[in-house]
Amino acid sequence: MKKLLEKYSAKLVSAGLAEAGNPLLGGLDADLEWNREDPAIPVLEKVFSGLSINSLLFSLPAEPYRSIIDFLASGEVSCIRPEDSETRTFMHDLPVVRDFTSDTIIEKLRKRKSVIIKGKGIVTWGTVSPEQAFIFYSSVCFACFVKFFSDYLRDSRRGEVSPEQDRVLKKALKHIDKYPDKPPELMSGPFKSREDVYRAVAQAGRQTVKHRLVDSFFGNVSLRWGETLFITQTTSSLDELEGCIDPCPMDGSACTSITASSEFSAHMGILRLTGMDAILHGHPKFSVIMSMNCRQENCAARGSCHIRCPEKRFIGDVPIVPGEVGTGPYGLCNTLPPSMKNNRGVIVWGHGLFTVSEGDFNSAFRNLLSIEKMCQKECLKLLERT
């Protein structure tokens, strides 16, 4: 357990979600262990006693998340309601409390996966592994970042930006990711062996994480090789893909995709329609923010843009489509593949960016990076105007 606690503490730091030495993680089997000593432990021990869980994470977010979350949680706010797809689907909403006491934390965590303690940090839990707590913490940071910028763009259109909002924006902009001019060189296709395919998928995943083109470590990657689709497994961490890639026959003659990414059907649909071989899917922040930035304030679909946006919207040459995670009636497996045809990438509203390429991941990665850079630039341009 101790090893897992230390692993996820280090991952929080490497993902830029917390500063070194800050994450406090506890894991409970028959006995309780912590990754380090901290004065907060007595309070969190009581939280363990009050909940049926096996792990807890408490940390102050690193900048810019810290300032953004402080701003969103300020005043009398008791709950933050982001509108991005991941939060809608998995987190629902983000409770906020003022006091770092076991009772207030327990009260909120009885119903939700996270609680923000004003000015002090975020507490999340897991029932199976500290990895769950890590994922929930990361989702809170990502959702708040996207909400802050989306709200700012909306408020600026309405001329309602507050001085405090402005102050936080300036601070946040100092900490946003700076993308490289050139993409990295990835393994070149065509690949000669299954081992090469596994290595190419793992390499593409690692580079996507390294370039911060995902929400911490999560997204999905696939490559068609012959009549088999090699796709990352659900909940796999893109920087640790070794052993987490499922080979799935294109003809459906084996059910190995049962553990594949939630977007397996979308990947299959894209490959069948486009004839391409490689797919990268990340959650780059500014692509998500810009997908949610719509001027149609009085649109009848407001509030359900993620599933039924009626507009044909683009950022530059890149289309934006509605669609929920997975295969439901509003699933992006229905909306995404047709849009991918003849486009270098597609952004799914409030969710993330998909790119494709032939043979290997080089072109897909180049497009993933350049589209996110384009969205970041567009966003900054809009912010400058205000």
Binding site: M1, L4, G27, L28, D29, A30, G50, L51, S52, I53, N54, R88, T89, F90, H92, I106, L109, R110, K111, R112, K113, G126, T127, V128, S129, E131, Q132, I135, Q233, T234, T235, S236, C244, C248, G252, S253, A254, C255, T256, S257, I258, T259, A260, S261, S262, F264, S265, M268, E324, V325, G326, T327, G328, P329, G331
Partner: protein, 583 residues
């Protein structure tokens, strides 16, 4: 509680009399419904013999049954297990629970013993006990055909009438309350069938809140590949697990002597689809519809049945797998115990079973003929009678299902801590060890597994009380179902409140088993798993389980669960859980 009637139908088959009891709302809140409330009726009688007339056979719905809440149409069937002598409960789908609640009945508690073979017929407010003498020996398929006009049907087949210890109760002809021999309890009461038709409306406290909770659940289900993915349960049924378990090299083969079955790739979901061109069907209130019926009307086997009638008995004929499944369902026998008992027989006798021999032996078991008479007592009593009980791959006398414990250490712990014997569904560690939900854990490690198993048991106990489908929890959590529960009942609750109820319910199972003499000696795996390796390959090592590590994990589980070193409930834990009334 707006959404519950708390109305229980009590039937005494000795007198043929019945009455309705209205439960105190506090009892409904404390025990939730389903498994929780069924145990409320079983607990006082648990030390009796399973065939004592006083022993109740309980059919209990959950607070969500009959509402819009997704996958909530199940019921819990409970009594004392003839196979194990421990608590015996099954969550079963179909339309029985849905009709019960529409008929204004939350639960049915049957006690006594009819002088003649009988059936119980319920139609909204009316209840009657009918003579069923003419149905003696009838198969469940025939019975369902004859009775389905009367509503939902729960019935037993010839296996129960011939004393098979793993007889099942079949609902609507194809949904099985399979494990533990509950069909035999029914037969001991001379009860052949129950029909129920309900046409009323189930009250819901806050319909809008229920709609929102249901949408949240559906959204999460849609985001879960194991459920709605191209090869998830929606598209391939539970057969989807067959390839996965095979390629993880944990497919029980040749009575668990090996963990890899060469012909598996030709026996999978795809092969069955090609052979039978199936369509989907499923339980009331479920949109996944994980069951399959072939174009010729043959119900296709679930994963466990596929695994045990192929790899476990080294049979590579899929027609024989389907035929074995049909015989078991029609005769009313648990396919897992039946397959594992044949595998045990095959190993002890050194006989490779041909397709004809497989179906012949199953029919012999169902009708109490020839060697079938001994095999109908289950693998443990059979192996013991042959002088080699260690060759029964069972825990507490119940046979292991289709996941070799050497391939998933949490599963090995879950098998032994399960209160009804070797059951994969009590803790379902396969969810995280194999299916990666909610996240993946190391399947070859016991680290952290004691608490994970305990929490999962609590969660599944409350799922069986709600009464929802466990498969939905690959994607959802109690967070969403707590909202649905609050919406239906008007009682505000949270995921953690429900987990606390689950802990009470599961701990009470341990209390019942302890009253019947179960101890740590019964929480153990057959010795094979600690001394023999599985079938390593494809870069995956399947060594024997380290016994010391296993025992340490079991001890940690006892500590986390509030049990002493012998696995018996600690008084302090009983008091902490508010169960002092049961002491």
């Amino acid at each position: 509680m707006t959404g519950r009637w708390g109305r229980i139908l009590l039937i005494d088959l000795s007198s043929g009399q019945y009455r309705f009891e209205r439960l105190d709302p506090d009892i409904c809140r404390f025990w939730i419904g389903g498994k929780g409330l069924a145990g409320y009726y079983l607990f006082p009688e648990m030390t009796r013999s399973w065939n004592a007339p006083e022993m109740p056979l309980v059919f209990m719905t959950g607070p969500l049954t009959g509402t819009l809440a997704p996958a909530s149409g199940r019921i819990c069937v409970m009594s004392k297990s003839p196979l194990t002598g421990a608590i015996g409960d099954c969550s079963v789908g179909g339309s029985f629970g849905w009709h019960m609640r529409k008929a204004g009945i939350d639960g049915i508690v049957i006690s006594g013993k009819s002088q003649r073979l009988c059936g119980i017929e319920i139609s909204d407010g009316s209840v009657s006990v009918e003579d069923a003498g003419s149905l003696s020996g009838a198969g469940t398929d025939e019975l369902y055909g004859r009775l389905k006009e009367k509503g939902a049907v729960a019935c037993t087949g010839p296996a129960a009438e011939h004393g098979v210890l793993f007889s099942s109760i079949m609902v609507d002809g194809t949904f099985a309350a399979g494990r533990g021999g509950l069909g035999l309890v029914s037969a001991s009461k001379n009860l052949k069938y129950i029909t129920v038709r309900g046409t009323g409306t189930v009250p819901v406290h806050d319909k809008e809140k229920l709609r929102i909770a249901s949408e949240d659940i559906r959204r999460l289900v849609a985001a879960t590949p194991a459920l709605t993915g191209e090869h998830g349960l929606q598209n391939c049924g539970t057969a989807a697990c067959y390839d996965l378990i095979s390629c993880r090299r944990m497919m029980p083969t040749a009575n668990f002597r090996r963990t890899f079955f060469g012909p598996a790739s030709a026996m999978n979901s795809h092969a069955f689809s090609n052979a039978y061109k199936p369509e989907r069907y499923g339980c009331k209130a479920c949109h996944i519809l994980c069951k399959r019926i072939g174009e010729d009307g043959i119900h296709l086997p679930e994963f466990e049945t596929m695994a045990h009638f192929s790899a476990l008995i080294e049979n590579d004929d899929i027609k024989a797998v389907a035929a074995a499944n049909t015989i078991c369902n029609d005769a009313g026998m648990d396919t897992i115990s039946a397959g594992a008992t044949l595998a045990c027989f095959s190993e002890i006798r050194g006989e490779r079973l041909t397709p004809d021999r497989i179906t012949g032996l199953l029919l012999d078991i169902a009708f109490g003929q020839g060697e079938g008479k001994k095999l109908g007592q289950g693998s443990y009593l059979f192996a013991e009678s042959e002088g080699c009980p260690e060759l029964s791959m069972s825990v507490k006398g119940m046979e292991l299902p289709g996941y070799d414990p050497r391939g998933a250490y949490g599963m090995s712990l879950g098998y032994v801590t399960s209160t009804r014997g070797a059951c994969h569904l009590r803790a379902y560690p396969i969810s995280h060890e194999i299916l990666r939900k909610p996240v993946a854990t190391d399947r070859f490690s016991f680290a952290g597994k004691a608490r994970i198993v305990k929490i999962a048991e609590d969660m599944n106990a409350v799922i069986d009380s709600l009464t929802a489908c466990k498969f939905f929890f690959f994607g959802c959590s109690l967070e969403e179902y707590a909202s649905a529960y609050s919406a239906v009942t008007g009682t505000e609750t949270s995921a953690q409140d429900l987990l606390a109820a689950g802990e009470r319910i599961y701990f009470r199972d341990r209390m019942m088993n302890a009253k019947c003499g179960f101890t740590s000696e019964d929480d153990d795996l057959p010795p094979r798993f600690f001394s023999e390796a599985g079938s390593s390959g494809d870069g995956i090592e399947i060594p024997p389980i380290n016994r010391q590590e296993f025992l340490e994990a079991r001890y940690r589980y006892y500590r986390v669960r509030g049990l002493d070193q012998e696995g018996c409930p600690l008084r302090s834990k009983v008091l902490e859980l508010g169960l002092e009334g049961l002491l």
